[in-house]
């Protein structure tokens, strides 16, 4: 849409002609626009990252090609990307669900760790007798991981619902507590020979991998992608169903948009706050379970490179939509994987950061129309 210059237009005088930029509030957002701005923001972020890489003396094109090849270039690396994406999908869903109700759960990291701890306890205490078959061990580990995450998520939920305590601060601090809790167990009771890791889990506690079927399908040989990915995909479908097809999900969306309208509609905001926090914690807890049972096969201090925090970005990029979380998680999984190929730290984190900032900045295009105007000063 053009901003027609007003009718009066005196002769140009050199040097006094100016372009100016003006924001005008949008009354309506076309359906395609959110998708377009998201894609546009990612492209812009890659361009900016490319410039930084170029200044640093790298060849941006070569680097991006390298990233693409080392994350999607073959079946093997694609499988590795999906392994990295799995915990992001589940923690991303945890964040997206809570954020839908405007509950700022930034404690997915802590809930992830508690889930990992709960699942490990099944093997290490042990809750299930040693030698029990997978069909028993794995479901019990899932329940234990989700229960631990849910209980841990319910703490900020209860504090907020009953006493109005700010959930951002509580969840942030609970992350540290979870980390130290985990450290206590891996340094102390569950330490193997004094190292900060537990003894390995027996194979009955391992999530099946594609490579397990390599005898039947030779192409699967070496593929590490595990059952946790299926948990993530199923969870995405369930969260979507919950939000858009269930009564409780309707309440969550209503509270998220207008707590006062929700109260007017007779909805119990307090109870939903606790419930959604617990559900969010359960999803993050399942991510922790899937990581110890599917990837590391033991409990150790370093099981998360910050999945619970990256999940916040993932949920935002996905615009809090469950299926968007899956797509964004795979993209970030690729970045994490390929990032290690380029540089141990630094560049990959920079690219992530620039993507996040671009996405936040792109919101302005959703709220405003940008008008360029030529003016005679």
């Amino acid at each position: 849409m053009t901003a027609t210059a007003p009718t009066r237009r005196p002769a140009r005088t050199a040097g006094r002609l100016r372009w100016s930029l003006r924001l005008e509030r949008r009354l309506e957002v076309p359906r395609w626009l959110p998708v377009a701005t998201t894609v546009g923001a990612v492209v812009a972020a890659l361009v900016i990252s490319g410039i930084v890489l170029w200044i640093a003396g790298g060849d941006p094109i070569a680097i991006f090609v390298h990233i693409a090849r080392s994350s999607f270039g073959s079946l093997g690396v694609l499988s590795d990307t999906l392994v990295k994406a799995t915990p992001l999908i589940l923690t991303g869903l945890a964040c997206a669900l809570a954020f839908r109700m405007r509950l700022w759960n930034i404690g997915a990291e802590g809930q992830f760790l508690m889930g990992a701890w709960g699942a490990s306890a099944v093997v290490l205490i042990p809750i299930v007798p040693a030698g029990a078959p997978s069909i028993v061990t794995i479901p019990v580990m899932m329940v234990a991981g989700m229960a631990a995450g849910a209980a841990y998520g319910a703490i900020p939920g209860l504090l907020k619902a009953v006493r109005g305590v700010n959930e951002i601060i509580v969840t942030l601090m609970l992350n540290y507590i979870a980390f130290l809790w985990l450290s206590y167990w891996v340094f102390g009771p569950w330490s193997e020979g004094g190292f900060q890791l537990s003894r390995p889990f027996p194979p009955e506690a391992w999530l099946p991998r594609l490579s397990d079927a390599a005898e039947a399908v030779p192409a699967f040989a070496g593929l590490t992608v595990h059952l946790g990915l299926v948990f993530g995909l199923v969870a995405a479908v369930l969260v979507r169903f919950f939000l858009f097809r269930s009564r409780r999900g309707y309440e969550v969306r209503l509270i998220g948009d207008s707590p006062r309208a929700a109260r007017y509609a007779g909805i119990d905001v307090t109870r939903n706050t606790v419930l959604v926090f617990a559900m969010s914690g359960a999803l993050a807890g399942l991510a922790g379970m899937s990581e110890v049972a599917g990837v590391v096969h033991r409990l150790q201090q370093a099981i998360s490179p910050g999945y619970g925090f990256t999940a916040i970005i993932v949920a935002y990029i996905a615009k809090l939509h469950p299926y968007g979380v899956v797509v964004a998680s795979i993209a970030f999984g690729a970045l994490i994987l390929a990032g290690r190929e380029i540089q141990p730290s630094g560049i990959p984190a920079m690219i992530q950061g620039i993507i996040l900032f671009s996405l936040i900045a792109s919101e302005v295009f959703l709220r405003y129309r940008i008008l360029f105007e030529r003016r005679d000063a």
Binding site: P6, E28, S246, R247, R260, A261, Y264, I267
Partner: protein, 523 residues
């Protein structure tokens, strides 16, 4: 062009061929408008007719897509309200832009280049007090804005503009927030200002007040001028209404004979506290029968909001009893109130009555999503929701492209239709409607009244809380007057004395302290 060469007064503002487009709407479509020096020029039109857009263009908030503006004869192109005020144009919006914790003087000075470093408050206080006195704007320059009534805050906004040298004042629906007495004060001020050579644009959709205050009137309809600058003496209320809506509006409401049934709502000595812990309801006792409408009149802030909240479960009573259909309900939740089929048309349509970013369908099911046929155990049947929403959209003529449209995109009248449709769909026994027509245009007001009367005919008991006494008298069977949390009068609407009610509303009726007026039985 309807230039009247006979009028010697020069033009303060001249707008020619103004076009302003928004996505999908042309808010102003070749609009001409002129304002003479020293007149009150009313800009009349329904909600969404383009009045505010036109004035926002004049004030520099929007830039026109086409058209030409002259102010005091000079062509202008404003980039912002700052440019407009420099040219002598000041606009007072419906929502004030004041800092509550600062004094009147500080608010007036805010954003001005002087004083630069040191605020010599005393000197400016006197200057502003003097300016206020000259224009009959009674306000204490040392008071902090949060202490002021809405009427006083409006005066501060006007002072801000005058202090900046505004010779043209644009007032966007200034009386929407005012009590009748405050409106009368405003009109007196405007009269004295135009006598001093200030010019005023008065945006309104209320015919009566336009007839009272304006010298000339320009009527807008759907982004175009329906009538330009007619002297008010040459108009009739009916004629203006016709120009505004394009068809004749029945100003009188056809009312069927009251056929009151059994008591639906009974309140006995109900007390409740307001948000700040002060008593808001003091011993309210009343009864409302099936098929009857009780109007509650009063100036805003005398306990009407709390009365509605107590009835709908949004606020707890501290004493007394409330029964609905014989069931004690004084301490219940909104959920229980909904279960007892108490419907609520809330005062705040966008903050409470709807969730702005959810779809029309999601907003329509707010009260019925728990029950069949919309709910199937713990899921919601999306097909049933769509059918339900489409049926309501058609029955109540909610103008929205589809039921998937977000509610915030609806106009005020359509939003109110949505709320009424939703509430009526619950087949209420008791309908509590708070300010249901505030800010709506003539056509939408008629719709709301008709829907409320239909409910009455269907046997619902209705409580209509409104600051608009004409509305209360037109719609209600009985009128209760509230003042400082008490019922200070109860009349049959047919033989109610407007002057007496007005007196009671403003505390002039010497209320019989502490003794609520008991509800007379219905014949």
């Amino acid at each position: 062009m309807s230039d009247a060469p006979t009028d010697p007064r020069p033009l303060a503002v001249e707008m020619r061929g103004i076009v302003k487009r928004f996505p999908r709407v042309v808010a102003n479509d070749g609009v001409d408008f002129e304002l003479r020096i020293g007149e009150v020029h009313a800009l009349l039109g329904e909600n969404g007719a383009g009045k505010s857009t036109l004035m926002n263009v004049l004030d520099g908030l929007y830039r026109p897509d086409a058209g030409e503006i002259r102010v005091f004869g000079r062509p202008v192109e404003f980039r912002s309200p700052r440019d407009a005020i420099a040219a002598g144009l000041g606009m007072v919006h419906q929502h004030f832009a004041l800092v509550p914790t600062q004094t009147v003087t500080e608010n007036v000075l805010l954003g001005l280049p002087r004083p630069r470093f040191r605020l010599d408050a005393g000197r400016y206080d006197d200057e502003i007090a003097d300016l206020a006195r000259r224009h009959g704007l009674a306000v204490d320059p040392r008071a902090r804005v949060w202490q002021l009534s809405v009427g006083e805050q409006q005066r501060v906004e006007i002072l801000k503009m005058l202090y900046r040298g505004a010779r043209v004042l644009i007032l966007d629906e200034p009386t929407a927030v005012l009590a009748p007495q405050e409106a009368a004060d405003l009109f007196r001020t405007l009269r004295s200002m135009v006598a001093d050579g200030t010019s005023v644009v008065f945006i309104s959709h209320k015919l009566a007040e336009v007839a009272r205050i304006a010298d000339r009137v320009t009527v807008m309809r759907r982004g175009k001028v329906a009538a330009a600058g007619i002297p008010i003496a040459e108009t009739t209320t009916a004629g203006l209404a016709h120009l505004m809506v394009g068809h004749d509006v029945l100003e009188t409401i056809e009312r069927t004979q009251r056929s009151a049934g059994p008591v639906v709502l009974s309140m006995r000595d109900v007390e409740a506290e307001g948000d700040r812990g002060r008593p808001a309801l003091r011993g309210i006792t009343l009864e409302v029968h099936s098929g009857e409408t009780l109007g509650v009149a009063g100036v805003a802030g005398n306990g009407q909001s709390e009365l509605a909240q107590v009835l709908t479960g949004l606020r707890r009573c501290s004493a007394g009893s409330i029964t609905v259909n014989g069931v004690e309900t004084s301490s219940r939740s909104p959920r229980q109130a909904i279960g007892q089929r108490v419907a609520h048309v809330p005062e705040d349509r966008t903050g409470v009555g709807t969730a702005p970013n959810l779809s029309v369908a999601d907003n329509l099911i707010m009260k019925s999503y728990r029950d069949a046929p919309l709910a199937r155990r713990w899921t919601i049947d999306s097909g049933a929701v769509r059918r339900f929403a489409n049926r309501l959209r058609e029955t109540y003529a909610i103008a929205a492209p589809s039921v998937e449209t977000e509610a915030r995109l609806l106009s005020g009248g359509n939003l109110q239709r949505l709320i009424l449709a939703r509430e009526i769909a619950t087949q209420p026994r008791l309908m509590v409607a708070v300010q249901p027509t505030r800010g709506l245009d003539v056509g939408a007001i008629a719709t709301v009244h008709r829907l409320l009367l239909d409910q009455r005919a269907a046997g619902a008991a209705t409580i209509l809380i409104s600051e608009d006494l004409d509305e209360v008298l037109a719609v209600a069977d009985r009128v209760a007057v509230m003042y400082e949390g008490r019922l200070v009068g109860l009349f049959d609407a047919e033989d109610a004395d407007v002057a007496e009610i007005g007196l009671l509303m403003t505390g002039g009726g010497a209320p019989t302290a502490g003794t609520p007026v008991s509800a007379p039985g219905v014949p």
